[in-house]
């Protein structure tokens, strides 16, 4: 089966705008708001979310990036991964509400690694999770707080988020697992 698109550019844009509203709604305003994107595409999504938040409520959120490579549980099983930069906003994360941002939520292992990484950076007041796509098949007790689209999938399928910054166009496609993609 060829890759079929499930979200188009307009859908992605709407989802990001809605998540931004939800983040503001749920934020009780005690402590700063920090969005941390998980490389590669989570960083792009965090940047876009941050831009929407800036329009809605200027100065409401700081945006950074959190690389989790060194915290993964599969380092010895996979080919060597090249870490990406971690950028923590100047104010740090102590006492902040951190929103982790990733493109696809699958096993939950990346988020587990991210929680460990956050632990070494400081002590946030709370950690939330925003994902563009939740495709199910969790292997750990982890759930998202903000979801762009719930996408039931077979474990063998590949769900790929393409973003114009990294892939030239905005779309989410589901393939049969034959095509190879970056993590």
């Amino acid at each position: 089966m060829p890759a079929r698109p499930v979200l188009q550019q307009a859908d992605i844009e709407r989802a990001i705008t809605r998540i931004a509203h939800e983040i503001l709604e749920s934020d009780r305003g005690d402590g700063p708001l920090v969005l941390l994107g998980i490389p590669t595409r989570g960083v792009v999504l965090a940047g876009r979310l941050g831009a929407v938040l800036e329009r809605l409520e200027p100065g409401s959120a700081a945006v950074g990036a959190l690389d989790v490579t060194m915290y993964r549980d599969d380092l010895a099983r996979q080919p060597t991964r090249t870490p990406q930069p971690t950028r923590v906003p100047a104010g740090g994360i102590d006492g902040a509400t951190v929103v982790l941002v990733d493109d696809v939520l699958f096993s939950g292992r990346t988020i587990r690694a991210a929680l460990d990484a956050i632990n070494d950076l400081g002590r946030p007041r709370a950690v939330r999770l925003a994902v563009l796509v939740d495709r199910g098949h969790r292997e750990l007790p982890i759930r998202p707080d903000f979801v762009g689209k719930n996408l039931p999938s077979a474990p063998t399928e590949r769900v790929n988020v393409h973003l114009s910054e990294t892939d030239g166009a905005d779309e989410v496609v589901v393939g049969d697992g034959a095509e190879v993609t970056a993590p």
Partner: protein
């Protein structure tokens, strides 16, 4: 990356990749918890058949920051003094279950022998073999030059166009050898200055220019000048008349230091013989990056240990 034995095994992209990972490792040192869980459950053995302070401590703290367990072996006070050879020592250590061996040895090629000998399964990192190579020193020197030049925007860049002068005991220096090849790989041009007696016979095959006149090299306004240690312990011949004459001809004296351009980096792999190859004024000046080299050494060794100990082969 299975082993790190020689900088000549590294392509430009390999080398830039290691420097980039070291940038991430350096950022860890500034955090609330300056430690990563990456190598939890792995064991790194430091095998030092030759004296070392900074390299051994640097590898040890790099391994510990990555949560690896470290066992350290130094030849003094060990069974080596009872006549045990490299193979038996290595196999004994390997039998205790180690994943990587960091080795310094007085014989050139010892690291390659250990890696290719089929004696042990562990990854081998060369921490200095005789007068042959010292790859992590060259990597940390390149990192220091890149960071001094480009600061926070260093990621992904090489050393294209950088002019580096290396001065002193090139003949006995594995640091000079590794630097000459690595810096050339990264696009820098390297000029070696030494007394004729301290230039190795095979230097014409290196990617460098050579000279014997330090004053001319200084008037050439290099971007970085690296002073090598006079290795008295390896000097079994009369390579120069005496130390005073060496300092006068090939030392970075106060006078020569004053003539260097204001932004020339002053480097030394340590330990320094103050007053011999480098004056105290030069070593302690704001242009001296000697202590940066030590700090960066830990980040580079973290990157190298990560690369040899993670992954099932290949780079994603």
């Amino acid at each position: 990356m299975r082993h790190l034995l020689s900088v000549r095994d590294l392509t430009r992209d390999d080398a830039v990749g290691i420097l980039d990972i070291a940038e991430d490792m350096a950022a860890v040192a500034t955090r609330a918890v300056p430690k990563l869980p990456t190598l939890r459950g792995r064991t790194v053995a430091n095998l030092f058949f030759e004296d070392s302070t900074r390299t051994r401590l640097s590898f040890e703290s790099a391994a510990k920051r990555l949560s690896a367990d470290v066992i350290t072996f130094t030849a003094k006070g060990s069974s080596v003094s009872k006549g045990e050879g490299l193979k038996d020592t290595a196999q004994t250590i390997a039998a205790m279950g180690v994943d990587a061996v960091v080795m310094r040895h007085h014989a050139s090629g010892a690291a390659r022998t250990l890696a290719d000998g089929g004696w042990i399964d562990a990854s081998v990192v060369n921490a200095g073999d005789g007068t042959h190579e010292h790859p992590t020193q060259a990597l940390l020197d390149a990192y220091t030059m890149r960071a001094t030049l480009h600061g926070g925007a260093a990621r992904g860049r090489d050393l294209d166009g950088l002019r580096v002068t290396i001065v002193g005991d090139v003949l006995h220096s594995r640091v000079a050898r590794s630097n000459a090849w690595l810096l050339a790989t990264l696009g820098a041009s390297v000029h070696l200055v030494a007394p004729g007696t301290l230039l190795p016979p095979g230097v014409s095959g290196w990617p460098v220019t050579t000279g014997t006149d330090l004053d001319a090299a200084i008037d050439d306004r290099p971007d970085a000048i690296m002073m090598l240690r006079i290795q008295s312990e390896r000097m079994h011949d009369a390579f120069f008349p005496n130390e005073r004459e060496y300092a006068r001809e090939w030392g970075l004296t106060d006078d020569r230091f004053a003539r260097l351009p204001a932004d020339t980096m002053v480097m030394h792999p340590g330990p320094m013989n103050r007053g011999l190859e480098i004056s105290s004024a030069a070593a302690d000046s704001a242009r001296s990056v000697v202590l940066d080299q030590v700090t960066n050494g830990v980040s580079i060794r973290m990157a190298v240990l990560y690369l040899v100990l993670s992954g099932s082969g290949g780079v994603a």
